[in-house]
């Protein structure tokens, strides 16, 4: 069973949703191998109805024909409006009234047929094959076979690179992000359906918006794992657009996704608790919208002696799997460590010295006589660069019992943090 779609628009994409074997038969005509679809949809009428429904979702106005061979389907689709089901064995009768011009004969052959008064498929089919062979040659015989609806051949499938892109030209500029979200949802759902029909997912999404002021706004999202969760994608896009709104109203939307194989991993029955990766990404983006873009992540210590040096890295949930008990034992230190709360920035302090050690400390919300102290600990580093540093550290206990770390550097005295 073969189905031919005839019309305008991206018919290949539509046909590919129903069959992996799709042929671009003629301008505006795409043929697909529909064998096996009867197990999914049932009768040929149901197959045609399913294709018509999907075409309507795409916004395409097409003709559909189903036949036992591809050429009969093509002829029916080109010649008859709506949905046509060519009955097997009765192709010649069904296609009989179609004009011979649909078979695309050469101009000379067409002129000859015109002179003979051959106007439709039936006229051509009634001619004796030997006579046709003598007068019109091989091309004449091929045309007669096509007119009878009995030409048998294999499809020449198109091998298109897998590109999942979709765009939308807007009739009027869209200013509000909420309105834009509806359009993004439409594009996302279309792309996700196309990915799903090929058993694929995506880990990267690109959005390009053409603006009213002729500028282009681009943004991209990366997902920790391949997914098809369109709701999460849409929310992430919304958060991204809220954080970085376009400079002007949007007139054109283009969206592309990177197709990858979906994640096939089964979590262990005794695996420790961990957030679902896409949900985690969504939560982090939501928290970033509150706290700030660069203030959410995982801290990574830097390989330096500079006190408090770290950088923020993207939080991925700590890689795969959990720690085994032995690893847990190795990681955990045996004793409780006294923690430092590090003020950012360090508090500028007024320190009165009593015989070379701090005797009284006054800073923002900190004030007291030093009862006990340890230090100074002299530290320096990066002297081989332009960012060299030098400091003297003191641990002090104030009259109220609070413990602080003070340091002195060329810029004066500072309270680095409090022990807690």
């Amino acid at each position: 069973m073969f189905a031919c779609l005839y019309g305008s628009g991206d018919l290949t994409a539509l046909a590919s949703e129903f069959s992996p074997v799709v042929e671009r038969s003629a301008p505006g005509a795409v043929t697909l191998d529909a064998s096996g679809l009867d197990r999914l949809f049932g009768f040929p009428q149901s197959i045609a109805a399913a294709i018509a429904r999907r075409a309507a979702e795409y916004g395409l106005d097409i003709r559909i024909a189903l036949a036992a061979n591809p050429d009969a389907a093509i002829a029916a689709a080109r010649g008859l409006a709506g949905i046509s089901i060519v009955p097997q064995g009765d192709e010649a009768k069904f296609l009989g009234m179609l004009p011979v011009a649909l078979l695309d004969p050469s101009p000379e052959l067409r002129e000859t047929l015109d002179r003979w008064g051959i106007r439709c498929f039936r006229d051509l089919a009634l001619l004796p094959p030997l006579g046709i062979a003598e007068r019109l040659g091989a091309e004449g015989l091929r045309l007669r076979e096509l007119a009878l609806g009995q030409a048998v051949r294999k499809l020449l499938p198109v091998e298109e690179p897998l590109r999942f892109e979709s765009e939308l030209e807007l009739e009027y500029p869209v200013e509000l992000l909420e309105s834009l979200a509806f359009l993004l949802a439409r594009l996302l759902n279309g792309l996700a359906t196309r990915l799903a029909t090929r058993a694929l997912a995506t880990n990267e999404l690109h959005l390009r918006l053409k603006l009213e002021n002729r500028e282009t706004h681009e943004s991209g999202l990366r997902f920790p794992v391949p997914s098809l969760d369109t709701k999460a994608f849409l929310k992430l896009l919304q958060l991204d657009l809220e954080a970085h709104p376009p400079a002007a109203a949007v007139v054109h939307v283009w969206m592309g996704v990177n197709p990858v194989k979906p994640q096939a991993a089964q979590s262990g029955l005794f695996a420790p608790l961990a957030p679902e990766p896409v949900a985690l990404k969504l939560t982090i983006e939501r928290v970033k919208a509150i706290a700030g873009e660069d203030r959410v992540g995982s801290p990574e210590l830097l390989d330096t002696h500079r006190p408090g040096a770290f950088r923020m890295t993207e939080f991925t949930g700590g890689g795969k799997g959990g720690a085994c008990p032995t690893q847990a034992c190795l990681t955990k230190t045996s004793s409780i460590r006294l923690a430092l709360r590090r003020f950012r920035p360090p508090l500028q302090a007024q320190v009165s010295l009593a015989s070379d050690h701090p005797g009284f400390v006054a800073a923002k919300d900190i004030r007291g006589k030093v009862l006990d102290y340890a230090g100074p600990w002299r530290m320096s580093g990066d002297w081989w660069t332009t960012y060299s540093w030098w400091r003297e550290e003191w641990d002090v206990a104030l009259a109220g019992g609070e413990l602080y770390r003070l340091y002195r550097e060329p810029g004066g005295w500072f309270v680095e943090g409090g022990y807690d």
Partner: protein, 228 residues
Amino acid sequence: MSAAPLPKRLESLLEESRNWQAPPPVETISSGIPEIDIATGGLPRGGLTEIFGPLSSGRMSLLLSILAEATARGEVCALVDAEDVFDPCSAAAAGVRLDRLLWVRCQHSAEQALKAADLLVQGGGFGLVAMDLGETSLRAAWRISLASWFRLRRAVEHTPTALVTVARQSNAGTCASLQLECMRQRTDWSGVRGVSRLLRGVETRVASMQKAAQKSKICLPVFTAAAI
């Protein structure tokens, strides 16, 4: 078999069948300090644990111990830092696996911290969500309405996440399933002052109050947070 034990066995069977609908026991996680775990039974999952006390009373050390224990189990944890005072070096020294810790550095705002904690709890999947209000001023902490704490408690209920807050005083009140009050007992120094003096650590005593028991009791094991 004698006839006498049969009624008793029947009674015990009926008793078992009567109790099968009882709520399951609360799952708890370890604090990393055996003395506290023994005294309190551990920190409840699906509940709010409040750690409070004055400055330098070992609250952060206790929190780092809880985080170290959770991350060592392979759980993903989050720390909402209201005043941006978390020190990753101290955490690494305490055994916290930093790659399993999501750090939210709020811009000196308790309100931001509450919103972020709420989102993280709602997001789900975290073994532990900690909110540090330890450097937040008393006035700002008091301004957090009880409704916000109720909202947090409702969000964490029936989830496998343990929610821990650190503050200067008790703010959550009845919303907390477990309250741990840290009290500084002693600061240990060693060596001769001005020559080889070293800060050795802080000895902390913890008073706990469980919502279920509705009574306060002092856990006398005390833990010592070592500086070296």
